[in-house]
Symmetry: C3
Subunit: 362 residues, 3 copies
């Protein structure tokens, strides 16, 4: 959490390619949220929901988009304030450089290959045949299994487990407690017991993937479980054997993806979504929180519910559901009115099909 | 699981402030469930669902409320039997005292500050600048990150990870495998890839909080993720960045709370509940299991479903849903009766709006 | 991931008790999926969904059932191809034998009893009084608590935590990061705060159980949490205190079972299912993914939904739900037609009960 001594607004405007409305010599020493920022701190307004909080803020300066107005202080304006915020945070919180080398307490197999610029933390275990690339950071208690590979610039936070043969690309970040490459959940019932199907495949995690804390990604039965380039996976997610996830997808916390399903590029699975096995989810599909997928999804579809329906349809049904008790009452009333009309006209009540009695069978 | 040699019912009555119906000299040597307790063990009847099991029990004595009747043995009666059970269990299972000191295999940074009365288990790692308070118990494989603080009397079970800068109050209990302070899940898409938004905030856990096994609580982007005093969190819960949970709330297993949502005091989120981002859940609200919150919740509201509705409304809808196939049949029958009436009266069937055909468009 | 040099199809036919259609002298060197298998590899067709992929496959041979046809190469035919596949994979991927002995970095208490044929990996901790049976494999970072027992032939993968007193049967497999025996989630509110109910019971895992990565199984308050023989539990599952699961059940990823519920024999709980507390789920019941159980389940019942209903009923309701917006429109139309008929006949519109207005109160 290291912080630089501070920057002038002029320096920040230059670094962020932003237009400054205010005194370029003014100094800010930290980035802070709107509600706690003081006069020597810079805050930001990106999400319009915070416009009122911004107007009340005591921050010494603001980073904002081109359309924000009424901010009570100097403004750094940019067309892409979200991207500029990333740069701003990186300026104030530069990453601490790792010290290359292997902690004395780590256990690295003689025939594991650890690049001289990598760092290996206390009590880490690197098994025979593993490859650890340049600049990799392996933190405390990490387990790198037999023959596993960790690409250049990747970071394994404390207590990550990479099982045997797992392959990680470059700049992959794995958060504490994640387990990559445990056995898939595969059994065949032989009439008496569930026999384990050997899980002898691997896991391939491509470049720039991020994997959340305590998430589990199982090895394939045969072949590989694959997470493609740039996909981000949140905490406590379960990815079963032989799943493949395309590039630049977003998998939010507690999602579960069952065996052999294929998730496309740029897909968003919101929190706690479940995906059944052997499904295909098309590129850029969006599945809202807690939904359950029980069928294939076309590219770009937006779904909600269990089993999931197109969002617009799900919402329309949702609205009518609220009226259900009333619909039942109104239907009973209509049936009574019909009976009275039929009586007055001397028409016999129709032969009701079984189950269509007047009182609804209650 | 240490056990004392035994207590007389007289001793227990005094210790629990209970009224004894039976022989004060009788000795019991353990607390046991109704179905397995023998004549030298004491059992308890607190939940009325177990009244029949209690009548069949062979226990040598019973702890019960003032209204329990027909128990087949001596009874310790109290107005608050649940609280008395806690005291009873504590009498028979006193906590083993920890031995202060640092295990020889632990790695404690020279400038970390560990109180002399704290214990640090084998292979624990305490990083530079960390503060460990009086009487704290740090078990095996625990990671206490740079500058993290652990308040007096807290217990970190094996394999807990506290990332850099996380602050724990007094008497906090963290169960095995929990991860506190991993990066929040924040990215901004730049047109080509998801760029990581630096997560540079912290986590504050107040006094008397308990955190379940393999639960994850992410650090704030800026500011703090906060869990207030006395709140209890079960296993495998996900708490995202910048969430704040009020005092004395109950968060049951596998709940997920999305970024920046604020949960009030005394709230109950039952198992597998999901809370969307940026929501406010009022004090004492209760959300039933598996519900999904997609809107703010007023204080005291009781909700169920995905998206969640007031419980009474949800139940009423639920009941009518069961009749849906029949409602559809009855509506078709009413339409046929209408058509016949209109025919007999020589009335033209009404111009049906598009989609309102007689057969429902099926 | 070791592989033998290869087998002739004749050898494989004999080993698998299969009928060979093709040249018995042909050699295959590996098992591979249909889409990647080459001419020196054997693939398999078990799931009819892959029949088309099999026809396109370049594999040098196929393992298949008796009814598969049109396979483009030699076929090993058997009546139980799923079971034969297990044998085939085991032939090509024999398990590497463990080297008995205790890693120099492990910390084993002097009065723990570790069988001479067991292996204990780097940084493992075995606490006083623990029993580790013959042939057990304890991998890196495993914690075996005070008095815990691990039966013959069991495997504890890296970073498993067995808390004090947990008992594991024979041939139990626990995957990385699982926590067995953490405190159950039990509190009693005393008017001011949630007081912890001491969790002093144990956990019993019987023979041949498998427990997934980062799964949590809590100790009982009193008595035992029990998982019976042959049951398989996937990743990130939560099993609360005092739960009992019968023999040969299947508990898929991210399921949560609340306190004191009893799951029968041969039950299947699909992914993300939630089970409320104190329920009984009968033998051979099947609960579909994401369902929530709020009542007891009879033996053999098949349920779906939250709260769960019989699958056939749930599906019928689901179909009518899709028509709900249209049903509402048709009901309004019927009411208008009734009003017109009543007008023509000079009948006063009926006294509508409160809430049954013509426009539905919208």
């Amino acid at each position: 959490m290291g912080k630089a001594a501070g920057f002038t607004l002029g320096e920040l405007a230059a670094a962020l390619h932003a237009t400054l409305e205010g005194d370029p010599a003014r100094v800010v020493t930290a980035v802070a949220p709107l509600d706690t920022a003081g006069p020597d701190q810079i805050s930001f307004l990106i999400d319009a929901r915070y416009a009122a909080a911004a107007k009340r803020s005591r921050a010494g300066a603001f980073l904002a988009g081109t359309d924000a107005s009424g901010l009570p202080g100097p403004v750094l304006r940019t067309e892409a304030p979200q991207q500029a915020l990333i740069d701003l945070l990186a300026l104030f919180h530069p990453e601490a450089p790792a010290t290359p080398g292997i902690a004395p307490s780590a256990v690295v197999a003689p025939d594991a290959c650890v690049d001289a610029t990598a760092s290996v933390g206390p009590f880490a275990v690197v098994e025979p045949g593993a490859l650890v690339g340049a600049g990799v950071r392996i933190h405390a208690f990490v387990f790198v299994g037999r023959g596993a590979e960790v690409g250049e610039g990747s970071v394994l936070h404390p207590r990550v487990v990479l099982c045997a043969g797992v392959i990680l690309g470059r700049r992959v970040v794995v958060h504490p407690g994640a387990v990559v490459g445990a056995d898939g959940f595969g059994y065949a019932f032989d009439g008496e017991a569930h026999r384990k199907i050997p899980q002898v495949g691997g896991v391939l995690i491509e470049d720039d993937v991020e994997i959340g804390a305590n998430t589990t990604i199982d090895r394939a039965m045969l072949g590989q479980t694959i997470v493609r380039r740039g996909t981000k996976i949140d905490n406590l997610v379960q990815i079963a054997h032989n799943v493949e996830i395309g590039e630049h997808s977003i998998i939010v916390a507690q999602v579960g993806i069952s065996g052999s399903s294929r998730i496309g590029r740029g897909v968003v699975l919101a929190g706690q979504v479940g995906v059944a096995d052997h499904l295909t989810v098309g590129d850029r599909a969006v599945v809202l929180a807690q939904s359950g997928l029980a069928r294939d999804v076309a590219p770009g579809e937006k779904l909600f519910g269990t089993p999931a329906r197109p969002v617009l349809q799900a919402k329309r049904i949702w609205v009518v559901e609220e009226q259900l008790p009333e619909i039942a009452r109104r239907l009973r009333a209509a049936e009574r009115r019909l009976q009275r009309l039929e009586g007055q006209l001397g028409i016999a009540a129709p032969e009701l099909p079984k189950g269509e009695t007047d009182d609804g069978g209650r």
